[in-house]
């Protein structure tokens, strides 16, 4: 099989498969928007997903060996503190990211 045709078919298959997972509930539960159960899950699932995503994005941090994830935990602490203080999302995110990049690249806690 020609290599470009192989790649194009892979891209096509992935496009369809990805869209299918995203569209599934909208198709399977068509017209159920506004149902009390869907409103309930619409309200309480985002906080659950956000908790999971924070932990997921920290999953490669090694908390059992030095530096015990110090860079990551300090950066998360900065985000939280700045956000509670200034309530400005961009500022909270950029200050923590700037700290994290510097800590990582200059080996603050290596």
């Amino acid at each position: 099989m020609n290599d470009n045709i192989y790649l194009l078919s892979i891209i096509a298959v992935m496009t369809v498969a990805t869209f299918a997972t995203r569209a599934f509930p909208f198709v399977a539960l068509k017209g159920k928007g506004g149902h009390p159960l869907m409103d309930y899950i619409g309200r309480y699932m985002p906080p659950a997903v956000m908790t999971i995503l924070v932990l997921y994005s920290m999953k490669n941090v090694d908390i059992f060996n030095a530096p015990f994830g110090a860079n990551e935990f300090i950066a998360l602490g900065i985000t939280t503190a700045v956000h509670l203080w200034k309530e400005n999302s961009l500022l909270s995110i950029f200050s923590a990211t700037a700290f994290y990049m510097a800590a990582l690249q200059y080996g603050l806690f290596a």
């Binding site: 990805t18 569209a23 899950i41 999971i52 924070v54 961009l90």
Partner: protein, 227 residues
Amino acid sequence: MNTQTTKYAFEASLPVMFGYVPLGMAFGVLFQDLGYGWYFATMMGIFVFAGAAQFMAVGLLAAHAGLLEVAVSTLVLNSRHMFFGLSLLTRYHAVGLKKFYLIFGLTDETYSLITASHPPPGEDEQNYYFYLTALNHFYWVVGCTLGALLGASVEFDSRGMDFALTALFMVLLIEQWKKIKNPTPFIIAFGCAVGAMWFFPDKMLLVAIALSTAILFGLKPVVDKNK
């Protein structure tokens, strides 16, 4: 096009730009190592628009995996997205092509922004969701393209820049806390995430999200009472 709504969406999406551009570039760099033209990386960014799946694809392409294997792996890896839609049934009431695009572009980050932020008062929220999705999509495509074009010659040290996405999730978690003021969903999710990380490290996201959704449904009477 509404400038006020666009401006709001742009500001809300900026953290995603700082996450998607370096991540997309990382994908592009790996992809061009396979020997395909750079524009195929652009194409994948445009049509597939799924970070984890695209990284997985690099490995599958290198191994010359079959179409069926790629289809099944993509479905399994992205099955968490099914749960996202479940909680957006009420929120996404746009129709036609706009709704099609909103569903197409439903990444982890787009989902997070959409469920936590609001358009300026009086503006149409469906339009706002549309701009957010389109901006995130754009950042991702730019990242994939740049990475594939520049390849290994990238000089800028962007290590750690993708922490912007972790910080974004953290900020949105705080926003959710302010909005919900009910610890139950957070505690359920924390327990599920830690458990899933321990027992199913490779399927952590899917297991944690599916399990929390099931528990949330089961505990509806309890959670409702604590409102």
